[in-house]
């Protein structure tokens, strides 16, 4: 006999779909089938069942080989590393639950670490912009029920958030959008003809890196002022058309992604996108929302903020929280070789940091807590595999619109495997002893 578990939350992207159905064996030890999830989400659930999974912590030996160690030994190494380090970096947190993040913050506070999450290479610049100018936003259900103008700027949900359009933004029939897709006009701004752009009513193929100019031109167009013939590769007629389309909406939503946060101008791109949103509120209703990547990067920012006061890139080394992206952010800390121990959890900087920021990790004491083998575990001294959060353990997570959803455990982890939180508690308790903290 098998059983179906409904209302399961998918721990992949910030869309945080919570309608997944999972078929598990009667003893709850095997996950057999995944329904409703996108292809990435399905793979995430199914890969937890891989037979070649690493189930024991491993230390890198002098000769370069791995040696299996116990969780106790792993926790001893981690606590000793953090206790000894002058300025450790504790990075990641975006693919684990808020409970583990909380324990991690305690550890960071005791070891006076720098703490950061994957916003560092994702929506960090968005956060800087929000701190400059604010953020008029809404929950995804508002989009579903009301939005008749949907703008995707520098993001490609067809690939990165595969169920976003069907669940929230384009296809669903909501309260005031009874005709679904027919109720909405879709605009895509992207230098490539992405699969999302191919679906759009209007595609503005902006010159790469010229988003600021185009957004600025839209603000001019809203006011009906003079425009040059071409801005950022887009003819002015097309800009005016897009501006009119947005102004004529009853509820406009702008979604934006890495296309603007990672291009030159960075936070300034977001600044002006938010200014566009504010402008539109003089004519109609408009909200803007970052397409957050990891399923709980938002949660990490929330937990950091209510415990330390800042959403990412926090330096606790002076005994209180400091925040100054560019100085206290992971990439810069690594590039300046300012840190002397690396603790990674729930993310893969080895794969997603520029290589110049990865090289220092290989030359310092380092721990990687991750269920997978990754480039980060590949360059770390200690790899601690853990249960898959959202599959083998539950815990609270925050969707891209900050809505908290409690993940579900659907299947048992392999015998003897710990969760992130359990392992972190072991490290915390050891660290307290080493540091003589009550």
């Amino acid at each position: 006999m098998t059983k179906t578990i409904t209302d399961v939350i998918c721990p992949f992207c910030g869309t945080l779909c919570d309608d997944i159905e999972v078929l598990v064996s009667d003893d709850g030890k095997q996950l057999l089938e995944v329904n409703n999830a996108c292809v990435i989400g399905s793979e995430k659930f199914l890969h937890s069942q891989a037979k070649d999974r690493v189930t024991k912590p491993r230390m890198r030996q002098e000769d370069g080989s791995w040696k299996d160690v116990s969780y106790d030994e792993a926790a001893d190494y981690t606590a000793a590393m953090l206790a000894k380090a002058k300025k450790p970096l504790m990075y990641g947190w975006s693919s684990t639950n808020c409970e583990a993040q909380s324990v991690g913050n305690e550890i960071a506070e005791i070891s006076r670490a720098c703490v950061d999450n994957t916003a560092a290479v994702c929506h960090g610049t968005t956060l800087i912009a929000v701190q400059d100018i604010g953020l008029p936003t809404c929950t995804l259900g508002e989009v579903k029920n009301r939005a008749d103008r949907v703008i995707f700027w520098g993001c490609n949900p067809a690939h990165a958030h595969p169920r976003h359009m069907s669940r929230y933004s384009i296809f669903p029939r909501g309260f005031f959008t009874g005709k679904g897709q027919m109720s909405r006009k879709m605009v895509v701004v992207d230098p490539r003809v992405t699969d999302t752009a191919k679906m759009a009513d209007a595609h503005l193929q902006v010159e790469q890196g010229k988003d600021y100019e185009l957004l600025n031109a839209l603000r001019v167009a809203f006011r009906g002022e003079w425009l040059p013939d071409v801005v950022a590769g887009i003819p002015k007629e097309k800009i005016r058309e897009a501006a009119d389309l947005m102004k004529s909406g009853r509820f406009v939503i702008i979604f934006f992604g890495m296309g603007v946060t990672q291009s030159l101008s960075k936070n300034h791109n977001i600044d002006i996108a938010i200014a566009v949103t504010k402008d539109l509120n003089e004519y109609t209703k408009c909200s803007i929302m970052p397409m957050r990547g990891h399923y709980n990067v938002t949660g990490s920012g929330e937990v950091f903020a209510w415990q330390f006061g800042f959403p990412y890139s926090i330096d606790l080394s002076r005994g209180f929280a400091r925040y100054n992206p560019g100085e206290t952010s992971s990439i810069d800390l690594l590039a300046r070789s300012e840190i002397d121990a690396m603790f990674t959890i729930g993310s893969d900087p080895g794969a997603h940091f520029p290589i110049s920021a990865v090289k220092p990790i290989a030359n310092m004491p380092s721990v990687c807590i991750d269920p997978h083998m990754t480039p980060t575990s590949g360059v770390s001294k200690l790899h601690v595999p853990v249960a898959f959060n959202g599959v083998e353990t539950g815990g609270n997570c925050y969707r891209m619109d900050n809505v908290p959803i409690d993940c579900r455990k659907v299947v048992e982890p392999p015998a003897g495997m710990l969760t992130d939180e359990q392992f972190l508690v072991m490290v915390r308790d050891r660290l307290k002893k080493l540091k003589g903290v009550a």
């Binding site: 506070e109 005031f176 006061g309």
Partner: protein, 570 residues
């Protein structure tokens, strides 16, 4: 558990009518008791003031908009970060302190209970995570109902029973405490960029007026017999002339009587009245309407209020009144955050600087003080700053100083740039009243506890009540040499006990207590129609499933304290 006896303090306890008498307070097993054994630890309170732990009835201290404030205002942490110290975790933030700092600051001032004033139901799990991480103080949270689609649809047809069944369901799944209403109808209108500025402005599409929403929720609240009354932030907040809308709202409660088993006598709590007591037609002829409002409230015993005192600080405004925050960013051009929440509510956040050099701010300051000074029954008027809207809660000692000392008020008035305008547009200059310690205990302890339906549990020092006790370095026998001494005394307690555990000693945290989450568990008769409506709304309109909506599990509410209400008899 340890036993304590607090000896020889001047006790102020309106619950028992004790007005400054020297009396010993005994603590055993977390409760106030008549006497304790000889082994009890003795706290010498001679020459000090002893009161019950204070009760915060309205503050924004946990949840999505508070955290949005923290996230988007790094400047609020400048010079306000506190390091790890003994039992204290790191903290930071002046107007929007981190959760740990929030708990410590309240406790150090002698507060042991606080209510989060606006919980978007869909974000209940977030609110509870922050409450969990706020040490020491007991907390409850008020889910917002005034723009909720279920409520709008039921009340359009005046379906009180269905509204009540929905309230009971929502309080249970969100672990909520009371029925909060913010800009009824106006916030739903804001989803289209509109607003409802009077009690008769119809809500777009839903074809209902704010008056009908308020009236219906008042009735539903009493139908259920909830511990707290309906708690309202009416329409038209913060605009010159808004006092008329406030009076129109208050009138909706006329003739209504409280029905509950918790000792509550009011049916409507009107919050941060200062923001709702403005006369005039523009910012030039802006003037105080405190007299009109307090005259009405003084006459109508079924109303309670809290003040919303402006503290003349830089702060962060935040409210579920989304259109107001949009209006405010237009006035001060500071950064605007907003979040509309599907089917339920919205919220806005804008920083604000209450400058003593701006006449409007100074007049707001005066109105906030006029209200408590004009109220005849201190048991129906509570001190708040609507934290952080009119100022941070950490300024309570300063507000107390202004209320207890005319001299302190005059000093401030003389420091205003537009002193003459303050004196001509308000009556603050002619108010000689100085609050007594007994009245202070009424306004910060006995009163709010009673209004919240917690009168039997906290806010007093009667044997059997929770042993929440604050001891202040303030000798009521001695004349106050300098009003600033009042502020100093109420800033840092000599001792604070929370449920019988010593949590503060000499102004320092010495224990983290046994923090509880207060919520209200209402039993109602089965209502298949409402359950079906809920089910349908989740399938069709919510962006999450009903099965994932409830705040369930140890990590959200690790130490719950449920007030049980049985509404099945009706």
């Amino acid at each position: 558990m340890s036993e304590y006896i607090i000896k020889n303090g001047h006790v102020f306890d309106p619950v028992q009518g004790i007005n400054g008498d020297k009396k010993d307070i005994a603590i055993k097993d977390g409760k106030i008791v008549d006497k304790v054994g000889s082994g009890a630890k003795v706290i010498d309170a001679s020459g000090k003031t002893v009161m019950a732990g204070a009760v915060e009835i309205h503050a924004h201290i946990a949840g999505p908009k508070v955290n949005l404030g923290r996230i988007y205002r790094p400047e609020d942490k400048l010079f306000s970060c506190t390091p790890t110290k003994g039992m204290e975790r790191m903290g930071g933030g002046a107007s929007i302190p981190t959760t740990f700092k929030t708990g410590y600051e309240y406790a150090k001032m002698g507060y042991t209970t606080a209510m989060e004033a606006a919980m978007p139901p869909m974000f209940a799990r977030h609110v509870h995570e922050e409450i969990r991480d706020t040490p020491i103080i007991d907390e409850g949270a008020f889910p917002v109902f005034g723009n909720n689609w279920f409520v709008l649809e039921y009340l359009k047809n005046h379906e009180i029973e269905n509204t009540a069944a929905y309230i009971a369901w929502l309080l249970r799944v969100t672990k909520g405490y009371a029925v909060k209403v913010v800009n009824p109808g106006g916030t739903e209108a804001w989803a289209w960029g509109l607003n409802c500025l009077s009690v008769n402005d119809p809500v777009p599409y839903f074809d209902i007026t704010p008056a009908e929403i308020v009236k219906g929720l008042l009735e539903a609240n009493e139908y259920l017999g909830l511990p707290h009354s309906m708690h309202i932030h009416p329409n038209n907040l913060g605009n010159p002339g808004c006092y008329q809308t406030t009076l129109d709202t208050l009138a909706l409660a006329e003739g209504m009587k409280a029905k509950n088993k918790f000792g509550r006598e009011s049916v409507m709590h009107l919050t941060h009245v200062q923001f709702h007591s403005y006369k005039g037609t523009n910012w030039g002829d802006f003037e105080s309407g405190a007299k009109e409002i307090t005259d009405y409230v003084n006459k109508n015993k079924n109303i309670t209020i809290d003040t919303g005192n402006v503290t003349l600080d830089e702060t962060t405004t935040m409210t579920a009144d989304g259109p107001f925050e949009h209006h405010l960013t237009g006035l001060n051009n500071l950064k605007w955050a907003n979040c509309d929440v599907e089917l339920e509510t919205a919220a806005g956040v804008v920083p604000y600087i209450y400058s003593p050099n701006i006449s409007v701010c100074a007049i707001q300051w005066a109105i906030g003080l006029e209200i408590p000074l004009m109220m005849k029954d201190p048991m129906r008027c509570y001190i708040t700053t609507d934290h952080p809207n009119a100022g941070p809660f950490t300024r309570y000692p300063r507000v107390i100083k202004w209320l207890m000392s005319k001299k302190a008020r005059d000093t401030q008035i003389n420091a205003f740039k537009h002193k003459d305008k303050v004196l001509s547009q308000t009556s603050i200059g002619s108010l000689d009243k100085e609050l007594s310690l007994y009245e202070l205990a009424q306004m910060t302890r006995a009163g709010p506890a009673k209004c919240l339906g917690l009168g039997g549990i906290c806010g007093g020092l009667k044997p059997g009540m929770d042993a929440d006790v604050a001891v202040y370095n303030f000798n009521p026998d001695k004349p106050v040499a300098n009003p600033d001494d009042i502020e100093t005394a109420f800033s840092r307690c000599a001792h604070v006990f929370k449920s019988g555990v010593e949590v503060v000693k000499n102004g320092e945290i010495v224990g983290t207590g046994n923090k509880r989450t207060l919520w209200v568990n209402v039993k109602v008769n089965d209502n298949p129609q409402v359950m079906r409506d809920i089910n349908e709304k989740f399938i069709k309109y919510y962006s999450m499933t009903q099965a994932n909506y409830e705040a369930l599990g140890h990590h959200f509410v690790p130490n719950p304290y449920a007030l049980e209400v049985d509404a099945t008899h009706v």
